[in-house]
C-alpha cells in the first residue's frame, strides 16, 4: 500500500480538541466534520488539505479524547496519512480502524518540511521525500494492522471475515 501527497507540518501534542473542537461532536456526517478539521489551529486547513496531503507531526499526535470524529474529520478533509514522532494510543487505533494510515518516524519529522512531496510505502516501511530526494526507514505496522488498512478499515475487515466464515 502506497500513499503520495504534499506535506502539512505540525508540532508536538496536537490534541483532539484542536483537531476537532468539542462543539462539533454533535455532527456525524463525515463531510461536515471535514470542514472543521484542525480548526483549533488553522481555519484554512480543510482548504489546504483538499487535494490530498500527508501530515507530518511531532510527539503524541492525537492526544486527549477518544472522539473518532477527529480522525474522520482529517481523513475526509483529504489527509492521506499521518507521520509523527509518536501517537496517543486511542487516536492511533481509531485512525487505523477507519483506514487512515499512521506511522511513527522520528527522523522524517526532523528532515521533512512543509510542502515537500512525500511517498510512503506502508508495507516496506519506507518514506521517500521526493522534493529533497531523501529516504527514511520506519518499522512497518504489524501485519494484522496492515491488513485492516488494506481492507479499508476494521468494520470492512470484520464484514469480510464474517462473509468468509459463512461460506
Amino acid at each position: 500500500m502506497k500513499v503520495l501527497g504534499k506535506v502539512l507540518k505540525f508540532g508536538d501534542n496536537i490534541d483532539t480538541d484542536v483537531i476537532l473542537p468539542g462543539k462539533y461532536l454533535v455532527l456525524t456526517d463525515p463531510k461536515e466534520l471535514a470542514k472543521h478539521a484542525m480548526e483549533g489551529l488553522d481555519k484554512e486547513f480543510s482548504k489546504k488539505a483538499e487535494k490530498g496531503v500527508i501530515i507530518v507531526a511531532g510527539e503524541n499526535f492525537g492526544c486527549g479524547s477518544s472522539r473518532e470524529h477527529a480522525p474522520i474529520a482529517l481523513k475526509n478533509a483529504g489527509v492521506k496519512a499521518i507521520i509523527a514522532k509518536s501517537f496517543a494510543r486511542i487516536f492511533y487505533r481509531n485512525a487505523i480502524n477507519i483506514g487512515l494510515p499512521v506511522l511513527e518516524c522520528k527522523e522524517a519529522f526532523e528532515k521533512i518540511e512543509e510542502n515537500d512531496e512525500v511517498l510512503i510505502d506502508l508495507s516496506s516501511g519506507e518514506i521517500i521525500d521526493k522534493t529533497k530526494n531523501l529516504t527514511f526507514k520506519f518499522i512497518p505496522l504489524p501485519s494484522f494492522l496492515l491488513e485492516i488498512l488494506n481492507q479499508g478499515g476494521l468494520i470492512k475487515k470484520l464484514k469480510n471475515s464474517l462473509k468468509q466464515n459463512s461460506l
Binding site: L25, T28, G40, N60, S65, S66, A88, I90, N97, L154
Partner: protein, 420 residues
C-alpha cells in the same frame, strides 16, 4: 506479573502475558455515551449483524449534552434511545437517571476488581480506582466489541507510582495527579499502565482514587490501577453482586519506572494553559485574575469535592467579577449534596448549580468561555479551545483551589483557609 498483566492474562485465557504482546481479551463491560454511541451504532449497523453480543454487558449513559443542548444533540439522543430499545439494552441512563458516565459506572456497580472494561471515552481509565483494567477506545473499536465481545490489546509496560505520607489540609488527590502528570509529561506514560501504591493511596478514599485514575490518560497512559483493598470491597459490596476477584501484583513484578512521592511536601498544584503537563506549584503562580470557576466533571464532581468547596465557601461570597458553576457528577451526588446542605451553601455564595452532566468541560454547553477569558477548572483538560473560545485560558486545579480562587477573583492557595 503486575496486577494489570494478571487481569489481561485472565481475560485472554493465557497463563501469563508480557509487555508488547498482542492479546485478544474478553470484555466484561462496554460503555458508550451520547456523543460516541451514534458513531458506534453506525459502525455496528454497517457490520450487518442484527444483535449485539450481550445486551446486559453494554451500558449506555447520556452525559455530554444533557438535557439536549441543540437540535443536533436531540437527534443523536433520539437515535441512541431507538438503538437501546431495539437491542434490549436495560442498562440505559437517560436524562435524569444517571449523570457523568464514569461516575455512574462505578456508582451503579458496573465496575468490579479484576474485570476488563472498555468505554468509548478517554476517561474510562477512571475505573482502575476499583482494581479493574479499564481503557478508552473509539467508536469503531466499540462496534467491534458490540459485535464480538472481544478486543485486541497490546500488553502495556508499567510505571509504579509509590505515594507515602499524609496530605496537608486542602491539598488533595487532584494535586497529586497533577504533580505526577507534570513529572511524567503529556506523553511520558504513552501506551503504559500506571499502578498507584503506598500508604497515601491506602489511606485515600475511593473518590480520591477515582480522581487520580481519571487523569492518567493525560500522561498518555492506557490505564491506571489501584490494587483493590478493604475500602474497595466496602464500596463495591453496596453496589454490585457476585464474586469479587481481588488480586495484587507479584513481589517480583517488573516496572519500567518507579516514581516515589512524599505527600507531606506536596503543595496545591495548577496545570497552566495550554497543556495538562504544564504543572506548577501554586506558590509559583503569579497574579492571575479569574473570570469563571468550574467545579465539576468526571475528575472532580464527587461528593468529597463538593464538601471541600462548600467548606471553603461557607458564609462567604464569591468575587463580583467571577462566575462560579458547580455541577455534581451524578444524580446520586446531587441528591446527597442537597441532603447535606452543600448546595445551599454554594448557592448562597453565588454559585450556579447545573444538572449532572459534563457541562462546560468539553466546550459543549453550560458556561463556555469568551475570547481572552480565564477559567479555573477542576476538570481534566486545558487544551486550546477546550471550553469555548480558542483564546480563553484554562487553569486546572483542585476543588479547594477553585473555591478559594472564586472568593478572591484570582488564583490563590486554598491553605489560606486552613484553620477555618
Amino acid at each position: 506479573m503486575n496486577l494489570t498483566e494478571k487481569i489481561l492474562a485472565k481475560a485472554a485465557n493465557l497463563k501469563e502475558v508480557h509487555p508488547g504482546e498482542i492479546i485478544n481479551a474478553k470484555i466484561d463491560c462496554a460503555m458508550v455515551h451520547d456523543l460516541t454511541a451514534p458513531l458506534t451504532i453506525d459502525a455496528f449497523n454497517e457490520i450487518g449483524i442484527k444483535k449485539v453480543w450481550n445486551p446486559n454487558k453494554i451500558v449506555v449513559i447520556f452525559d455530554h449534552c444533557v438535557p439536549a443542548s441543540s437540535v443536533e444533540a436531540a437527534e443523536l439522543h433520539k437515535k441512541v434511545r431507538n438503538f437501546v430499545k431495539t437491542q434490549g439494552i436495560k442498562n440505559f441512563f437517560d436524562v435524569g437517571y444517571g449523570g457523568i458516565c464514569h461516575q455512574v459506572m462505578v456508582e451503579k456497580g458496573f465496575v468490579k476488581p479484576g474485570e476488563v472494561i472498555v468505554g468509548a471515552d478517554s476517561h474510562t481509565c477512571t475505573y482502575g480506582a476499583l482494581g479493574a483494567f479499564a481503557t478508552g477506545i473509539g467508536s469503531t473499536d466499540m462496534a467491534y466489541v458490540f459485535a464480538t465481545g472481544e478486543l485486541w490489546f497490546k500488553v502495556p509496560k508499567a510505571i509504579k507510582i509509590h505515594v507515602s505520607g499524609k496530605f496537608q489540609k486542602f491539598v488533595t488527590p487532584k494535586d497529586l495527579i497533577l504533580y505526577v502528570i507534570g513529572k511524567l509529561g503529556a506523553n511520558g506514560a504513552n501506551y503504559m499502565s500506571l499502578e498507584f501504591t503506598g500508604s497515601a493511596i491506602k489511606n485515600m478514599s475511593i473518590d480520591g482514587r477515582l480522581t487520580i485514575c481519571n487523569m492518567v490518560v493525560e500522561a498518555g497512559a492506557k490505564s491506571g490501577i489501584v490494587p483493590p483493598d478493604e475500602k474497595t470491597l466496602e464500596y463495591i459490596k453496596l453496589r454490585s453482586k457476585g464474586k469479587f476477584n481481588f488480586q495484587e501484583s507479584d513481589k517480583n513484578a517488573v516496572y519500567d519506572k518507579v516514581l516515589e512521592i512524599d505527600c507531606e511536601k506536596l503543595q496545591p498544584m495548577v496545570a497552566c494553559p495550554n497543556s495538562v503537563d504544564n504543572v506548577k506549584p501554586i506558590s509559583e503562580i503569579s497574579e492571575v485574575e479569574v473570570d469563571q470557576v468550574f467545579i465539576g466533571s468526571c475528575t472532580n464532581g464527587r461528593i468529597e469535592d463538593l464538601r471541600i468547596a462548600a467548606q471553603i465557601l461557607k458564609g462567604k461570597k464569591i468575587n463580583n467579577n467571577v462566575r462560579l458553576i458547580v455541577i455534581p457528577a451524578s444524580q446520586e451526588i446531587y441528591l446527597q449534596s442537597l441532603k447535606e446542605g452543600l448546595l445551599e451553601i454554594l448557592v448562597k455564595a453565588g454559585a450556579v448549580i447545573g444538572n449532572p452532566n459534563c457541562g462546560p468541560c468539553l466546550g459543549g454547553h453550560m458556561g463556555l468561555l469568551a475570547s481572552g477569558e480565564v477559567c479555573v477548572s477542576t476538570s481534566n483538560r486545558n487544551f486550546i479551545g477546550r471550553m469555548g473560545s480558542s483564546s480563553a485560558k484554562i487553569y486546572l486545579a483542585s476543588p479547594a483551589t477553585a473555591a478559594a480562587s472564586a472568593i478572591y477573583g484570582k488564583i490563590v492557595d486554598p491553605r489560606v483557609f486552613g484553620e477555618n
